[in-house]
Symmetry: C2
Subunit: 122 residues, 2 copies
DNA sequence: CTAATTGTTATACGAATGGTATAACATATG
DNA sequence: CATATGTTATACCATTCGTATAACAATTAG
């Protein structure tokens, strides 16, 4: 699989897992309609407990990235709600932009980062 | 003061505190060289424990936003290291951009958010 | 049909984190 | 000298994170 967990990170495992699934979807390594490994299989693969994977899947489902089909497992299915997505993103970005301004980052430097990351992923 | 804590938030108090200090510096409500209230005074003001404020101040100091002067208390003093700031910001932004791409946000919409937030703060 | 695998849920445990509560110390201020 | 400061230490409680079993219903494979 495409998952790499850093067990020495201060970031929770289920958060790392969630972020890497974001990344895999964004970079089309996983596509809409694809199934993810079962919680047990993935847990076994990356060497963590089943519940840790289940927690990642559950948050992804709640945030509208997965749907669970009894016969197909966890299927990538992204709910798109532009308004809500933008509102959430603004809330996430706000403290980061504030931090950046404090550190003297210009909006051009910020936008360059966005461009770089988009180029890296798409 | 300019601080408002949401005690029902799932975000840790010391994180909310830190973010609002970011915001206050970014919007020039607090300026380089200004002193922040003492940990005890601010704790008393917003109704939390001294140690919670101390934790926020400590992380702000470690991240180069404050310096502590024995005679002047916690003084706003932003260490600027462009390279390091950009590297850190890229790491913070990466999972957010991935999330945005999944939800169908274009890079223009992303940059618009950045512009909005900059306009709001500066 | 049977056995195995699936998602889901429940419970329990240990470790770490978040927040509170006192207390103490050295330094600086009035 | 008395007060307020930043800092540190300890203790306690609740919550979270991760792990460990276990069980259940439903679906799949043989």
């Amino acid at each position: 699989m495409f998952i790499e967990i850093d067990f020495n990170s201060d970031e929770a495992i289920y958060i790392q897992l969630r972020n890497q699934i974001f990344l895999a979807i964004a970079t089309s390594q996983i596509k809409e309609g694809d199934s993810l490994p079962s919680v047990r299989a993935l847990a076994d693969d990356i060497g963590v407990n089943m519940h840790t994977v289940n927690k990642a899947y559950t948050t992804l489902r709640q945030d509208g990235f997965l749907k669970v089909d009894r016969r197909r497992g966890a299927v990538v299915s992204v709910d798109v709600d532009k308004m809500q997505s933008i509102d959430k993103m603004r809330a996430y970005l706000k403290p980061l932009v504030a931090r950046g301004i404090c550190k003297g980052l210009s909006r051009e430097e910020f936008k360059q980062l966005i461009d770089d990351l988009y180029d890296e992923m798409k």
